[in-house]
């Protein structure tokens, strides 16, 4: 650091303690490059890898990106062990499974040639899906009945919404296709028995709080058709509960909707299960209790399920039954902030630093007063058609932070969203994004 001598240095004034030079500071003018740049800093080929204004070659440590590395030496379990779903299978409440091997005419020689030429095709419709692991994965048996209970699929059911079928947990593209009751084809087993079809939403009950013991699970009953004669269509059964399309609320993700098929020898009187009211709360159902009640007569034979998510059609369904469509939002945690310092040691961007510690009430009051000002002066408070009409001028004229705030105000981003809302500050961000979507929708 060069020490400058004052021009007044030689002017002696008694008792003035005037400084003759600029002060001595114990830090170098330039950083001591060798200390942290490494020994290669001033080597012969120092111009090869210039980094920054200090014109030295620095040896940075090699930073390996943190990827997920699969080390085969650390894998001990076999594939079967690793993928095994450990769920207790104590009680089989279904029928005994009869393994049927379909008889297909086989020409071994032709089959071998086809396999060699890779033209051999397997007819999947001849195969039956027997595994229960998919129901374990989605907790179907636990949520319908009780842990430890299961049953094998002993009757074929095909549930179809137009082109999309309900199989084993598939995601239905749009809930609007489920406005009408699906086409259900039940396999005729030949005996003189009756089928009962139940359609339940396993995740749909928003009314009952979670029970202490988890065994008493609730569902929403969407469709109940009982006493369908063997081999007949679903229409010929008695509709105990009329069809209601699935109603997964917005923000709650995917809901599992299951179609449970039960078999019984004689007709059962389901008049106690009849629901006439339209409200969703009256459709709260407990499959476990129902199954327990008719334990001696009913036997489950098949269950197929699909996943539904919110759609505008869900809003229409809920409005049709006379209730409002709720909106669910995830409550993010408050961002962690360091303790505020009156004079931060490192230079901080003042507007961002001070905004971080401003209480939300003060922000709301500021936004509200701004809104009122605009209503009084302009008569309306609407978002500007463009983020900044005079972008080029403002870029030169205004400081950078002020320009950014102006753009945010015009577009209604962040805290400014509440300027352009009709009511209050609850879920301001979501409401603002909803309104934007409505504007852009054709």
């Amino acid at each position: 650091m060069r020490r400058v001598r004052s021009i007044y240095a030689e002017h002696y004034i008694k008792r003035s303690h005037r400084a003759k030079f600029t002060p001595r500071v114990n830090r170098p003018w330039r950083p001591r490059v060798i200390a942290w740049a490494g020994p290669g800093a001033f080597m012969r080929d120092r111009w090869y890898e210039r980094d920054g204004w200090y014109k030295a070659r620095i040896q940075k440590p090699e930073v390996v990106p943190r990827l997920h590395i699969i080390d085969p030496d650390r894998i001990v379990d076999t594939f079967e062990e690793a993928t095994r779903v450990v769920k207790p299978k104590e009680i089989n409440i279904g029928f005994k499974r009869t393994s049927k091997t379909p008889t297909i005419a086989r020409d071994e020689a032709a089959l071998e040639i086809a396999a060699h030429k890779r033209t051999l095709e397997v007819d999947l419709s001849q195969l039956s899906f027997d595994q229960l692991s998919i129901y374990d994965h989605f907790n179907i048996f636990e949520d319908l009945f009780v842990p430890g209970v299961y049953f094998n699929t002993t009757q074929k059911v095909a549930v179809r919404y137009g082109s999309e079928s309900v199989a084993r947990g598939n995601l239905i593209s749009s809930t609007s296709i489920a406005k009408e009751a699906p086409e259900v084809e039940i396999e005729a087993l030949g005996t003189d028995a009756y089928n009962t079809l139940l359609m339940v939403n396993l995740d749909g009950d928003a009314y009952t709080p979670e029970a202490e013991n988890e065994f008493d699970k609730t569902q929403i009953l969407h469709w109940f058709v009982g006493n369908i004669p063997d081999g007949a269509k679903v229409d010929s059964g008695e509709t105990v509960v009329p069809y209601l399309p699935p109603t997964p609320y917005k923000g709650t993700g995917y809901h599992r909707v299951a179609f449970l098929l039960l078999r019984h020898k004689e007709k059962i009187d389901f008049s106690s299960n009849k629901i006439t009211s339209l409200s969703l709360a009256d459709r709260i159902f407990r499959v476990n209790r129902f199954a327990k009640q008719h334990e001696s007569t009913l036997t489950p034979t098949a269950v197929s399920f699909a996943q539904f998510r919110w759609d505008e059609s869900v809003d229409e369904t809920l409005h049709a039954i006379g209730s409002k469509s709720p909106r669910f939002f995830y409550e993010w945690n408050e961002p962690l902030k360091p303790e505020q310092k009156e004079y931060p040691a490192k230079p901080m961007p003042f507007n961002l630093y001070l905004d971080m510690y401003r209480p939300p009430e003060v922000v709301q009051r500021e936004m509200f007063s701004k809104k009122l000002e605009r209503l009084v002066h302009d008569g309306k408070c609407e978002p500007a058609p463009y983020p900044d009409m005079f972008y080029a001028e403002n870029r030169k004229k205004l400081p950078n932070w002020q320009h950014k705030e102006l753009i945010k105000e015009n577009t209604g981003a962040g805290k400014y969203a509440s300027l352009y809302l009709k009511s209050g500050f609850v879920n301001a961000v979501e409401q603002a994004s909803d309104e934007k979507k409505k504007e852009t929708a054709v």
């Binding site: 400058v4 004052s6 021009i7 007044y8 400084a19 600029t22 204004w53 303790e339 505020q340 310092k341 009156e342 004079y343 931060p344 040691a345 230079p347 901080m348 961007p349 003042f350 507007n351 961002l352 630093y353 001070l354 905004d355 510690y357 401003r358 209480p359 003060v362 500021e366 400081p399 950078n400 932070w401 002020q402 705030e405």
Partner: protein, 160 residues
Amino acid sequence: MASSMLGFSSFLTKTTAPTLTAVRGVARIPHYEHHIRFDPATGRKRPAQDALDRFKRLNNGMWIRAHPGRNKMRYAKNQIFEETADYFETSTKEECMILDKIASPFWLRRKYYPNDPYEPYHVRYGLNSPRVDHKGRFVRERPKVLLDDTTAAKHFNDLQ
């Protein structure tokens, strides 16, 4: 001189009676002598104009400054620099103290401007650091009090 060279000396030079004009010279003083405690004209403190050009004081005592070197070699700087170079930064405690000293008392008063873009930043919130240290000395106050406490309380009352 140029006029005499060209030969228009009699036409251009006017002879007038000598007038008394107060000439204020700009003394060539080093930068650390810019704190003028008694200026020759009025005998009062003069603020350092360079400091007033480069820094802005908020009503809560914080001095704001632009990032030094923000316009230098922007083409060679990275994306992070591009975003952060235009920030207006806070100053440290010592810097704010020094700036308060080299500015005159006028600049330490509360300023009320209409449509002030800095309006939300004149008041600090959430400062919970102690006002007094273990020996009973004030932590946040300046060591030398410019005014007596009643006068100071009238003007500096927004450390919340």
